[in-house]
Symmetry: C2
Subunit: 429 residues, 2 copies
């Protein structure tokens, strides 16, 4: 963990290094992924069989080994603990309600010269969701990706997930039942992303691919951007807590550890105006790490990427927060509004002392798929818009064309595009 | 030009080949671009100087050779033909009015359990627009990219454009004045895109890069997606005209040629239910090509990629149009509404006999930067949203946290994330 004070002589240099640090994948991953994508594109299911044997120790042979049926998902749903089932349903209902409010409105109007103008939104036909296997197989991620797609109106919702040595995650299947997933394919990694983008003999291609994954999955999505739509380029998780000295250090320590436990490359940052509180949180983290079952991962993250910045006043925290453009920002003060009003770049903000980031991961309603790695400067969290697209339209009456057509002819001629000009001038009176 | 009838025995195979055909860049471009990006990232301005000398024959030495001042743009604006100046102003005003209607609304509400939820939109700080030099230096493209950025509220709007052998395009400068561009840098190609994304000693980095360009520029944007936001992966232009036999064949021929004249890789397609009309359009294209100053390019495009499909009824055109997911779709019939209602995938639609696509290129108001290469299946035209991002927020009262916190704790525990669970349970009564 790095402790900085804005009054330190070398603060700017050290903070700039934190902002620049990308904690992301290397060129070798790029080359490996390019080769996998090419194999799946050329050889389809045969390549999937080979990679799945090699990477997952799972043999794709009969239909059951290739996919998981809706019936199996329903069975898993009924088999899990009743309280857990209810928690999944509560989460799904709240996520659905929040995302329904994102559905965009169409436009259709006629302007003063008689030109009809507008835009119409429609859903993509098919969406593919990547669901990681093993440690990072999160039913909450399935809900957060699948529900916006369903709310958007996608016809076909396809999940791919690795089943290492044939093992399936019952909780993920139960979540797939809740979210009404249409197909689940038992393939993972870059090869699964390639199958979704290009299609194979068994797996029909989709239009948009979303969902978290390891470095290979993220790189596959990046390389296939343009062949399909993707949600975003995702990196390791981050939390930035802006807190005054009146918080319980244990609460803030738990918030910092809730990101650190995700992955050794996760980053947890505290900015406070109270040096004594900073020291208390540091101690509370050390104590928490003694008891936490995920301490091994959390400690690696905290040691390598943890950061505490002591500022003069919390107003000074805002320009630093904008430079970090963090995925999650907690503002743990009595009245978070003035600070929140000044903050420009953040994926999601958690207001006040009673809003731990984790409540947003599961159940509050907004999406937990958020921009990482300083990308909140230009990117947004996942929404129904990621599963929709907009078609603009124009309808000119003869009068409307006569009113503005000549100006368009002039511009077309000036650009050296005579057929453009002709297509208008032929229609003018 | 290829002529197909849906009644032909091999129609499906031939049409499927058209749909699959991507007309896009190859792997060598990818490798060249990767090397250019790396050089600019490592060596900054020095690399820009070398590439600009080599590719543009332009020597970057003093300040004037690096950039074009706002004063020079204003001078160009006053120097151009008055009618052209007025046409630029009309176009800008109409584009601005249409895009102002795209500004999204923030959300902020408290739900039934007392949880405050919402989302707040904000503009990116800086946007970079690529403006091609030479043949494809279009003032209309500058307006179509710059105005949405300004409407979004971007602080800093930066143009890069090559000036081959030092030559500048006065019309582009005039458009930059109209659109209130803040900086213009005289660099082009993949090296300009790299400078915008990474920043150099002279050029400060931006958050989003948009604008058309050749295969190298398009590939540079694709490779830098994630480092910055980009508008889209753009390919060659396309038009699909759906027309009955009651149109003037000369009008439709001009519409087809208006895309064909852009580039030899452009694609113009007519779908009609009238075989006699199809033959008339074919003849009208041949006659148009005899007179058109851009005939050389248009003929290459029409010969290699032109397509006429004769269908039984125009209803049969719609599933074919959805498979093509064309950038521009004209529906040239008396009442376009029933066909338009059935169409799902298109970048922009031009309704009725009096709406040539070119009116949308310049002056109607909607954006002319649209998804190509079948990407209208999942992508939308450029809008103010490309220059904005959304921050979601959550504010829990103690009661709200008590109401749903336990369900979140249950899910966190089931996912094996104990610090997530603790950060909530510590705050529960």
């Amino acid at each position: 963990m790095l402790l900085l004070r804005t009054t330190d002589a070398d603060f700017e240099a050290k903070f700039a290094r934190v902002v620049r640090d990308r904690r992301e994948s290397d060129a070798q991953v790029g080359r490996d992924v390019a080769s996998i994508l090419n194999e799946v594109r050329e050889r389809g299911d045969k390549a999937l069989v080979e990679y799945t044997t090699r990477f997952d120790g799972h043999n794709l042979s009969g239909d059951d080994s290739w996919s998981i049926s809706k019936e199996a998902c329903e069975k898993a749903y009924h088999a899990i603990d009743a309280e857990l089932r209810e928690a999944l349903e509560t989460a799904a209902a709240r996520i659905r309600a929040y995302h329904e409010g994102q559905l965009p409105e169409d436009r259709d109007y006629t302007d003063s010269i008689g030109m009809r103008l507008g835009a119409r939104w429609s859903a993509v036909e098919a969406a593919g969701l990547y669901v990681p296997g093993g440690r990072a197989a999160y039913p909450s991620s399935l809900l957060m990706n699948a529900i916006p797609a369903k709310v958007a109106g996608v016809d076909r919702l396809v999940v791919t997930t690795p089943t290492p040595k044939g093992e399936v995650n019952e909780l993920v299947l139960a979540a797939a039942h809740v979210a009404e997933v249409d197909e689940i394919w038992r393939v993972g990694g870059a090869q699964a992303v390639a199958a979704l983008a290009y299609g194979t003999q068994r797996i029909e291609r989709v239009d948009v691919i979303t969902g978290p994954g390891n470095a290979w999955v993220a790189e596959a999505k990046r390389q296939l951007y343009g062949v399909v739509g993707i949600d975003m380029v995702a990196g390791p998780s981050e939390i930035l807590v802006i807190a005054d000295g009146k918080n319980d250090p244990d609460w803030i320590a738990a918030d910092l550890m809730s990101q650190a436990e995700h992955d050794p490359t996760s980053q947890s940052i505290l900015i406070t105006d109270d040096a004594r509180f900073a020291a208390q949180v540091e101690d509370a983290v050390d104590i928490a790490l003694m008891k936490l079952p995920t301490a091994k991962t959390a400690k690696l993250s905290w040691d390598d990427h943890g950061l505490i910045v002591v500022v003069d006043t919390l107003d000074d925290a805002i320009p630093l927060a904008d430079r970090l453009a963090a995925e999650h920002v907690e503002i743990a003060v009595d009245d978070p509004e003035p600070l929140f009003a000044k903050l420009r770049h953040a994926g999601s903000v958690f207001l006040g002392r009673n809003t731990p980031e984790a409540v947003g991961d599961y159940i509050a309603g907004p999406n937990h798929v958020l921009p990482t790695g300083r990308r909140a400067r230009f990117a947004s969290g996942l929404s129904v818009l990621d599963f929709m697209k907009r078609t603009s339209f124009i309808g000119a009456s003869p009068d409307a064309l006569a009113a503005i057509g000549p100006a368009a002819v002039r511009l077309a001629e000036a650009e050296g595009l005579p057929a453009h000009a002709l297509s208008i001038s032929k229609r003018l009176p």
